[in-house]
Amino acid sequence: MKTCKTKIKLIDYHYGDIAGHELSEIEAHISECPLCAEELRRIEETTGIMSRRSRPRPDRALISSYHQNLSSIYKEDSWYQQLLDSWIRVPSFGVRLAELTAVLLLGFVLGRFLFVTPAQQPLAQQSVVDAKLLNNYLFETELLLLETANMDAYHELKYIMDDIDCQQLLQKTMILKEVARKDKNVRLEHLLDRLEIILLEVSNIKDDVSNEELEYVKKSIKDMRIFSELKEIQLVNVS
């Protein structure tokens, strides 16, 4: 019985699984080889008849029971669960808007409870100035003013002025005042105003200061009653 080794490839050729160079080669071979041409004709004839097979449509009752049985495998949720699920997973625009409003409202209410209003805030928290820096400034100012208020002679003041530069304190006062103004921290601004006046007087004390002038500065400090306020602010900042 005559046979050709290309015969097996006719299946691939018939089903269109051959392309490119191999396709032109096999086409050329079929045109030359009567065995393969005959085999291809038979394949086409047979598969042509087999293609006329029409799969009957399954019975409706069978399909229905089949689908029902399959759904019992993965236990489809009931309609209300599906509806609830669709609301949660794929919410409509209205639901999303309601969600957004609820989140904003919640944020507002939480904000009201968690964060105190500016009037109730301690000075250092209200100010953008670092609490530690402000405390250092207040401490140095307090020390200088205490020394000034309690000194008997100028040389005693000069001793403390070696450690604390009164001019520097004045500069710091002006900077802090600017910040307090921008921050609308009225209380701190008012305190710094008073401190600036007294620090100017202290910085103006010279070697040749008279006892009368010295007594005047000491009296001014005492009259201002500023120490309790300085202490209070420092304590608030520490806490």
Partner: protein, 195 residues
């Protein structure tokens, strides 16, 4: 398509039954029709398709994605169909044997093939082309039928079929070639018988 399957499989592997349900809905008809093409009737095909999805449901966590989901699903369908066919063949042989024994058959224990039950005269009465085709398909061996059905009626490539049947593409080609030859002979024989 494969991406959607991938996402659904990942969800199903995490226990999402809705995702598994979507996979079932997508493939349930394809599995039913493949089982029908392999078994020849819808009652058996339905039983097989259900067992396929039960098997997929219990084994989805083990699916590693080395082949596509459809290839894996069709492989299970083919295997389940073979198992069903064999177990049904055993059952029917036993029941026929019992009947024969009840009727005092002189040859108890004989194996009776379905095709051979048909009388030649009865076969001659089959004129309908559809029946001729179904008969021709019935003459194919399991592997020949699987290869032919998957290639001819489900449009799968040689490579896909080789993955489903777990053999080389060359073997699939060989099964297919033999299947077509056998079908031609069967159809020709049927034609001659009718004439």
């Amino acid at each position: 398509m494969a991406d959607i399957d991938q996402k659904l499989i990942q969800k199903a592997q995490r226990g999402d039954r809705r995702a598994f349900g979507k996979l079932v809905k997508k493939y349930r008809n394809k599995v039913l029709y493949l089982a029908y093409d392999l078994l020849g009737n819808y009652d058996d095909a339905q039983d097989v398709a259900q067992s396929v999805f039960l098997r997929v449901f219990s084994g989805i966590r083990k699916f590693k994605g080395k082949s596509s989901f459809s290839t894996w699903l069709y492989r299970i369908t083919v295997n389940q169909s073979i198992d069903f066919k064999r177990s049904k063949y055993r059952r029917s042989s036993v029941s026929i044997d019992k009947n024969i024994q009840n009727e005092d058959d002189p040859m108890p224990g004989r194996i009776i093939l379905r095709d051979k039950e048909k009388d030649p005269l009865e076969r001659l009465e089959i004129k309908d082309l559809k029946e001729k085709i179904e008969n021709a398909l019935d003459t194919l061996s399991e592997q020949q039928r699987e290869a032919f059905v998957l290639r001819h009626y489900h449009g799968m490539s040689m490579y896909e079929i080789s993955k489903i049947l777990e053999c080389k593409p060359g073997t699939v080609r060989s099964h297919l070639f033999r299947a077509i030859n056998k079908l031609r002979e069967s159809l020709k024989e049927d034609e001659n018988m009718q004439n």
